[in-house]
Every structure is written in C-alpha cells, then in structure tokens.
C-alpha cells in the first residue's frame, strides 16, 4: 500500500467511525459516571445501573417492549414467510410486480403515515366490531407485525431466489406431497434466513418509537417511549445506563442475525456451485 493512499483513506476511516460511534462511546463511558451531572466525570461507579433496576416504570416499559418484540417478530415470521414464498415460487402471475412492490412498501413508508393510518384503522374497527378494545399491547403488536413482515418477506425471498428449485422437485419426484416438501425440505433450508428475519424484526420492534406512540394506550408504554418522555424532563445518568444495555442487546442481536444471513449466503453459493457444471 502506498503512503499517500493510506494517509487519506485512514483519516477518512477514522473520521467516519468517530462520527458514527463517538456519541455512543460517550454514552457508554458516562453510564459508569458516579456524579449526577451527565457531562462532568467524577468517578467510576455502577450506581446508575442499580438505580435503573429499581425504577419500576423503566422495568415495566422494558418488559412491555420485550413482550411486544417477541410477539410481533413471531407473527411477522408467520405472515412474511408465505409472502416471500409466493414472491419466489409462485411463478409468473398477473400483477406480480405490483404484489412484490406492495409487500416491500412498508419498508420505505414514512413511519408517521404508517402509525397514523393504523391508528385510524384500529379506531374504525373498534367502532364497527368492538375489537381491538381500546389501544394497548395488542395494537402495538399488530402495528409492528405489519412492517416487520415486509422485512421477513424480503429476507425469505432472497434466500429462496438463490435456492435450486430442483431440490424441491427431487423431493416431489421421490414421492413427497407439496405440503410435506415445504416442511421437510424448504423450511430447513431457509431456517437461517428465518432466524435472521426474526431477530431483525425483534430489533426493529424494540427500536420503534413513532408507530408505537400512535397506537399505544395506557399501560402499554414501551421502552423507547419511556426514554423519550423522561429525557424531555432532563437527562438523567440512568438513561445512559439504559442506553448502554440497549446498545449491547441490539449489537448482539445484529451480529447474530448477520452471521446467520452470511451462513445462508454461503449455503446458497454452495448449492449454486453444485448446480453449475464444473467443465
């Protein structure tokens, strides 16, 4: 490597990463600060972590967020997987492009609009059929499922697109019926993609503030909502501790899902290798 190139690239790299991660690093460092002031370092301590875990409001919100995350990720998987399957395996059908476009649309829809339209839907439904009664955890789960399902569908579709269809044909040829082929052959092959989709959905649900704010009701405050409202009253070092924990959880989850996606990519290129003649 030449000196000139490395100097320029190195400084660009350092600046870029500093820009992205310095604020986060500061939050992590100050979460161990002893003093009450967020910006003045007085000494190392775990006291804000201790006080965080005795803050019932925070714990309740975290518990809500976890429950919502697990439920909406699971539902998203149940809704998104068939959608991904249809997009890659149904063959050509009329308005197929429109269908794929509509499946992927929630990915780019402004959250404010998604939140608002879902709120209107829930209010109308309550007036018409009385369900969902009021807004709360249920409505947040439904709302999160809608946009997470889009992510799952895209992940599943891209995995299936690279999969050799003759594997499924082989199973059929050997006497397995379509439903059985899906559960015994297709599902195990796309399992890493499903896990990655679930983790991604869980993380997205955990992160969401805007949509949840629209469709939440009393007693269903999520962690981001709680954090946002307490920050408005002044930043407490407790928030730093909480942020550090969230960063930790999210990073772990992102790393695992990336590894899973990477693994399924590898499996995909391997099955592509098998499909390509060597000569």
């Amino acid at each position: 490597m030449t000196g000139k190139r490395s100097t320029f690239l190195l400084s660009a790299l350092v600046f870029g990463f500093a820009f992205l991660y310095l604020p986060i690093l500061l939050v992590i460092i100050y979460s161990f600060n002893e003093g009450k002031l967020v910006t003045v370092w007085t000494g190392f301590s775990f006291k804000w972590y201790v006080s965080l875990f005795s803050n019932d409001g925070m714990i309740d919100a975290a518990w809500n967020s976890l429950r919502i995350g697990v439920m909406s990720a699971t539902l998203a998987l149940a809704v998104g997987t068939p959608a991904g399957l249809v997009m890659s395996r149904f063959g050509r059908f009329k308005s197929r492009t429109l269908f794929s476009g509509m499946v992927a649309a929630p990915l780019v829809m402004p959250e404010v609009i998604t939140g608002l339209s879902l709120l209107l839907l829930f209010v109308t439904l309550e007036q018409l059929i009385g369900w969902p009664a009021g807004r709360g955890v249920t409505t947040i789960v439904i709302a999160h499922t809608t946009f997470c399902a889009a992510y799952v569908a895209v992940v599943v579709q891209s995995r299936l697109a690279g999969m050799d269809t003759s594997v499924e044909e082989a199973a059929m040829d050997l006497g397995a019926k379509p439903a059985k082929i899906f559960f015994v052959i297709t599902l195990p092959m796309i399992l890493p993609a499903l896990l990655a989709g679930w983790l991604l959905s869980f993380t997205l649900s955990l992160d969401d503030l805007v949509i949840a704010s629209f469709v939440a009701g009393p007693g269903s405050t999520t962690l981001p909502m709680k954090v946002f409202s307490s920050v408005r009253l002044g930043v407490s070092p407790e928030i730093n501790a909480l942020a550090t924990l969230i960063i930790l959880a999210v990073s772990v989850m992102i790393v695992i899902s990336s590894l899973l996606i990477l693994r399924s990519e590898r499996a995909r290129s391997r099955s592509m290798d098998q499909a390509t003649p060597e000569n």
Binding site: G175, R270, A275, N279
Partner: protein
Amino acid sequence: MSQGALQKAHEDVHKTQPWNNPEAVPFIRFENVTKKFGDFYAVDDVSLDIYRHELFALLGGSGCGKTTLLRMLAGFEEPTAGKIFIDGVDMAGVPAYERPTNMMFQSYALFPHMTVEQNVAFGLHQDGLPKSEIRTLVSDMLALVQMTKFAKRKPHQLSGGQRQRVALARSLVKKPKVLLLDEPLGALDKKLREQTQFELVNIQEKVGTTFVMVTHDQEEAMTMASRIAVMNEGVIRQLGTPFELYEYPNSRFTANFLGQVNLIEGTLVDDDEKYAVIHSDDAGGEIYIDHAVQGHEGATLWIALRPERLRLLTEKPTDTKYNCLSGKVEEIGYLGGLSTYHVRLDSGFRIKVTEPNSSRHIEPRYTWEDRVWVTWEAGAASVLNQ
C-alpha cells in the same frame, strides 16, 4: 424376476431389438405430444416408443426440447396436447409424486441438510416402509454405488463424482419402472465422465431398469445408449441405434451433429439400379455411389463423408476417374492417436481427413503444401437429400 434373468433381459435388448419387432409392446409411449410455453413450441407433436430395459438417449443442443420431454415424463410439466403412457397407464393428471418414475437431476439436487444416508432413504420414507427394510435397502444401494463409507457425510463434504453417485442411488433405491437422467454426467470433468459412463451402463445392466437420459454430448449418447433420438427445435430429427445414426444419417443435421463430417453438395447426373453418379462443383469431380439413389436426374443432393473414411495418396490413382479429388495440404493437426489434415481442393473446397498414427517411428507422409489426392471407397459415402 431374479437378478440373472434381469441381466439377461437387458442384454437381449441389443439382440432382440424390440423396436424392429412390430409385435413388441412399448414400455413408454409418447403419442403426438406437444408442449407450448406461451407461443413457443418446446416439443412439437412428438411420437416415440421406448421399450423395456432400454437405455434410451434424447440427444440435442440446448433448447431442442429434450429436457421438456423428460420433465413431462417425470410429471413436472403437463403436455399441452397428446398422451404419455408408462407401462400401459395413461399419465395424464398423475402428479410427479405418484408416478413410477424417478429422476436424477443435472444439479443432483441433493438435500443439503441431510446426510448421504438420509438422502437415499428419503424416497423410501415417503412410501412408509418399515425402518429395518429401509436400512437394508439403503445400505445395499450405497454398496452398489460404492458410497458406503460416506454414508454419514453431508453433500457439501463430497466431491462432484461422489455427489453424482448419491444422486443415482437416491433415484434408484425406489426401484422405479423408469429412471430419468438429466445430463447425468454433465457436471463431471472429462476423465471422470468417461469412467462413469461405463459404470452407469453396468449399473443399469445389474438393476435392469429402463433408463431414459437427456444429453447434449453425442459421445456420451453413443457410448451408453441402446437407441438415440436426435432432437432439434422440438422435433425428433432421427431415431435409431448409435450405429444407424452414425452410418446412415437421414439429414445434414444428424450427419453434422454426430461426429465429424464433410458435406459436399452435388447434382445427380446418372442413376442406375446398382449405382449412381453425382457431379459436384464443390468437390470439382464426379462421385460414384455403389447403390441407387432416390431422386430424379438433376436433383441437388449432399454427400456425407466421414473424415476417417477418406484416404490420402501422394500420387494420382490410375485405375478410376471417380472419387478422387486433388488438392494441397493446408493444415495438419497432430492429436497423438490420429492426425487431422485439412486439404484445400483445387475447386477451393476444404475437406477434412483423419488418419490413425498406428506406428511410432514413422516420418509423416505429408507436410504442408504437399499435393495429395483424396479418395474413398464407393460404399463410404452417405447420400442425403435434406
């Protein structure tokens, strides 16, 4: 039927030649089968009979319809028109999972998340056989393809040749009435392919199943098949044993497709009951054929001459005025076992001649720019009118 009887039956296919016996009952029958994809005719009104114990090859370039024909037999595609019978049963509406066929895929299509053993056992589990029987059948089959010691491996831990054996075992273990092979050796390198060709034929003789295979490789088809259907643009151009196709092609297409050939255009000038004479401007001479040719005088015909049936002489033969074309050696290709000579005839036409190098210490008889005469026996040429 016992193992011995099966083997006997297979060997008999070459001797009894059921396709020449009008009373023999075909095992697989295509009746005016057409398959359209949109406006495109992938298979166009094909009728074909295949007999029990045959190793039948569908041969053609890509997009000729051979794979579509095979997939219709397997049940992955339904014919747009026409009927398919296997062992007398109409296959219309019978789904792939209920057909008495099994297929070996070009990509092998092994289940990546299952071991070799589980892959082979998969089809038997679908039939609900008892576990102990499955175990015996699987281990017998793995022994047949010599994969016993790899039973616990996953497909990605195997080489291409090993995967091919697993795919074969998996498709044979259910004892299908018909085994379908889609480019069975396409993914192997040349050396392995030649070796596997014979192994596959031996296995077919052992199990006695009727094989229908698809290939684009004429050498593979010639080596393995009892009969070959040469396909192009959705139709069968010629059907016959490898010998018939090579020695008696019915068109320029098959002559060109199987092996190498010099095609010379000419006009029929003399047609008798016992011989024919064709004048060719291409060749710059008269060509004598030792049998009658169907056609009126003045008709345009093509003469197919295989390069290995031609001989080169350094001096003009004096005994005949026919089948003797003079020219200059333009290019020489030394291939070890044989040499290829490209001779530019005086007419300007380039003709290809191969000669075996049957001895080691011999000076090449011809070199570049040598004047030579190309001759052949009157029976060596095929006359084609299409």
